[in-house]
């Protein structure tokens, strides 16, 4: 296991586009001007609410089980399910990642909800998700660049709860991650702060990165479906 590569990311470095919230707010296309203005207003008011931190471990010594669709690493057997297994199976190493936007945005959102401004609360909740995804995009891009220098490629990132990987497997993942970022897991595998992401990325000479992977996933009602094309290169 390599040392944990940690990132503390100022919000301004993410240059978050408010239009990124459009799919989660329900829009098929760009936000209309009046709603866009509200998103910008919430973004302005919540600038100081973020404490964005994340990082990854790189692990090797992987054993793949084709019959069980599982991956054994560091003594932990991840039952990733068929879809993710096939994306990872040519990996020589994996990066276990975690990233959080911090608890502040969640608190602000709840405060607005109880202060009779549900729209501001809802927008803040959505933007918390947009920010943490932008942060992990940045971390993943950094990993991709490092691996390119070594002649290696990376896969897409995969998280428990998606593409058939059971949410409960989050416990196995967290057992291998450091607790220095202040992210903890509830018994029901919910990350706290809620605006956090975690998962796995395959690394190797013969792995593939797909700009668009939604067709692999069985979550047919997911708001990202048919909309999310990764910016990782």
């Amino acid at each position: 296991m390599t040392a944990f590569t940690q990132f503390n990311i100022p919000l301004r470095e993410l240059a978050v586009d408010p239009q990124a919230a459009a799919p989660m707010l329900g829009y098929d296309s760009d936000l209309p001007e009046d709603i866009l203005a509200m998103v910008r207003e919430v973004m302005d008011k919540t600038t100081d609410c973020y404490d964005i931190r994340g990082g990854y471990y790189i692990l090797d010594g992987l054993t793949f089980d084709n019959d069980e669709h599982s991956l054994l690493v560091e003594g932990t057997n991840f039952q990733t399910g068929k879809i993710i297994f096939h994306q990872l199976k040519h990996s020589e190493q994996v990066a276990l990642f975690v990233c959080t936007a911090g608890v502040g945005i969640e608190k602000w959102s709840k405060q607005m909800m109880t202060n009779n401004d549900p729209l501001a609360g809802f927008i803040a909740d959505i933007m918390g998700g947009v920010v943490v995804e932008a942060a992990i995009d940045k971390i993943q891009q950094s990993l991709s660049n490092d691996m390119k220098d070594k002649g290696l490629k990376i896969t897409n990132r995969y998280s428990p709860g998606y593409c058939g990987w059971q949410t409960a497997e989050q416990h196995k993942l967290f057992a291998l991650l450091p607790d220095t970022l202040g992210i903890r897991l509830t018994e029901s595998a919910l990350m706290q702060p809620v605006k956090s992401v975690s998962g796995i990325i395959g690394i190797g000479a013969n792995v593939q990165f797909n700009p668009y992977t939604c067709r692999l996933c069985e979550a047919t009602h997911c708001v990202y479906r048919y909309k999310k094309v990764s910016s990782i290169r």
């Binding site: 709603i35 509200m38 959102s109 909800m113 809802f122 949410t167 409960a168 029901s188 919910l190 009602h221």
Partner: protein
């Protein structure tokens, strides 16, 4: 129809909360739902008429537009906020019993789960459709639902979950409820759920969004 009621209906449908609210831009500097509800009461319009001839039809129209993809969640929330602004003036009449609502819905995010945005959206839209909503919050245990039913025995129960690890707790809650209140109707919702899962755990209904939920409530309220 009373002119004030018509104006109030338009305000709620378009999300105009009060005179100072900037949304929608075309209604800037006009009275909103807050002022118009008060004016209607002052003019002698009954609270029941305010609710049934202005507020509920406005939210029905909002639900219809949402179902047809003509508006999206933000506009729906603006309407819900405008509706709440008008409802503040009606609260005393609900408490005195002068105005009756369609029924009571006890709602909560199930134990182990802390997600509340979807549940809050449902609460607002259901309340806007003329129901009294008792929101138990998040991480709600089976006994809390049963205790709420002790106070509101005719209530319908709504359960929300966002995780595959917590949606399984819905069945435990339904079983606890049915042990004491076998006739209680239970509806479920949340991203990982579907109608098949709802049927399997003994729920009476699954709704994918608040509009579907209010449609189901209308059917069983008859």
């Amino acid at each position: 129809m009373n002119q004030l009621l018509e104006q109030l209906r338009i305000c709620v449908e378009n999300g105009k909360e009060n005179r100072t609210s900037p949304y929608p831009p075309q209604m800037k500097n006009q009275d909103g739902a807050n002022e118009l509800a008060k004016q209607a009461l002052d003019a002698g319009v009954t609270p029941g008429d305010i609710l049934n001839l202005a507020l509920v039809p406005a939210m029905d129209a909002v639900g219809q537009k949402f179902a047809e993809n003509k508006i999206f969640i933000p506009q729906m929330l603006l309407s819900a906020r405008a509706m709440s602004a008008a409802m503040i003036h009606l609260k005393p009449f609900f408490q005195s019993g002068e105005v009756k609502r369609k029924g009571v819905v006890v709602i909560g995010t199930v134990m182990g789960d802390l997600h509340d945005i979807g549940k809050n959206l449902c609460s607002m839209i259901v309340e806007g459709a003329g129901w009294e909503v008792i929101d138990l919050g998040v991480d709600v245990k089976p006994e809390q639902f049963v205790t709420a039913l002790d106070t509101y025995p005719d209530a319908i129960v709504g359960l929300s979950a966002l995780l595959t690890t917590t949606m399984v707790n819905m069945e435990l809650i339904i079983n606890s409820i049915r042990e004491k209140y076998p006739q209680t109707k239970v509806t479920v919702g949340g991203a990982p759920l579907n109608a098949g899962f709802a049927a399997k755990i003994g729920a009476d209904n699954y709704s994918k969004d608040p509009v579907e939920l209010t449609g189901w409530l209308e059917k069983i309220a008859v």
